[in-house]
Subunit: 276 residues, 2 copies
Amino acid sequence: MERVEQHACFGGSQEVWSHRSRTLDCEMKFAVYLPPQARQGRRPVLYWLSGLTCNEHNFIVKAGAQRYAAEHGVILVAPDTSPRGADVADDADWDLGQGAGFYLNATQAPWSKHYRMYDYAAEELPALIEAEFPASDRRAISGHSMGGHGALTIALKNPGRYRSVSAFSPIVAPSQVPWGKKAFAAYLGEDRNAWREWDAAALIARAQERLPLLIEQGEADEFLTTQLWPELLRAACEAVGHPIDLRMRLGYDHSYYFIASFIGEHVAYHAAALAD
Amino acid sequence: MERVEQHACFGGSQEVWSHRSRTLDCEMKFAVYLPPQARQGRRPVLYWLSGLTCNEHNFIVKAGAQRYAAEHGVILVAPDTSPRGADVADDADWDLGQGAGFYLNATQAPWSKHYRMYDYAAEELPALIEAEFPASDRRAISGHSMGGHGALTIALKNPGRYRSVSAFSPIVAPSQVPWGKKAFAAYLGEDRNAWREWDAAALIARAQERLPLLIEQGEADEFLTTQLWPELLRAACEAVGHPIDLRMRLGYDHSYYFIASFIGEHVAYHAAALAD
């Protein structure tokens, strides 16, 4: 494991690390922000999963979350969004292949060789963070768009693993929208039953833990009625009594200007859950 | 004038506009953040000048300043760093030509045709902002690196024009460092007397107004002892009793992680001066 960037930031340290992932069988980078409190002992971790086309830099450059992480003493960890490298399968489109891992374990060739972002984000990365950084095993998870889908599905599939979960502009029902259908058909094949394992709206009915869902959604989001459909998640939650707080924000779009405007509220929300 | 981007952000509006600049004789873009208070009436303006290689996006994407501008009711304006376009002179190096206008009026061919960033940033842009947006004529100015040089020289050359000035990691004595010598030789020619008009450390002695200088500087800045030399500005100020607050920050580098960490203090500083 090698540190490739380090910047002082809000009294703590914004770092980028490179390591060989056993799960993905390639070199991977992730960003970690260590708040000043991490010099005194182990701190809880908020994992952030980014959206389509992103890598480990987008969140740490654009969201302004370090200020709030420093205030609350929370470590931030932001991985890349897919396996990477010249020998990793890719696609000419930006919504499939590298930069578009969808936080699932692919079963179809050529993707199944490297595309295991679910195992990476849910298992390998937290184990690495807790072994190599001053991180406790108190975990929260959030993300944006494809990464909001990742945060919700990973939390729902791992009861007891996360103290809290939230998402900005998530793809809540990938089985039913163009981005998800395209990715799932490629990564998982045409058997729709397999898709349900990676679909938050479908997982709600059999969730073994009623972990509340905090969803932040801009009403002016250009993908709201084509790719996101948060009402599908609210309906799934209401059908089984799963707690959900869906916050519709007038005028906000899909960009990081939206995330920056509300990330402070999310970090505070997770910090409260992590402090219990 | 055409609005090319608009995003809700911290209750206000982050916009990017394109217009034909008479001064520069080319199409130019600038970013403007309108805080929520600008819907109720005219607000003061903090102008931000960016550094080498930057355009109108860097500050609005990376600094996280909108939060503080919304808190204090200050408009933020961030222009591009040079004239732009296929018919505008350029250089293969990143520290000369497009992206490196140095906020001066060039006198040498081929640069003198378009490179008048001083007139643009000090005259044309404020006049445009105050005519077309809900902006008052209360102005403050700040910037980073080459843009810190721009903020300092523009404030020093225009007594009474700005209520306050600050700079992050500024090039304080361009006549004496490699970036400045290269740019000044190209834009201004070899007459060193002409260079003194665009050098903050040289302008201090004959400043007609003792406007305090607030300088934020990382001690781990990779350009500190090659390009920046803030001690030269402090010495020039002390020689004539010009007020300067030079804040050396342990561990911080030249990046936007440094700017983000302290921009809140600068916005508050300018807001206090603008509120008088």
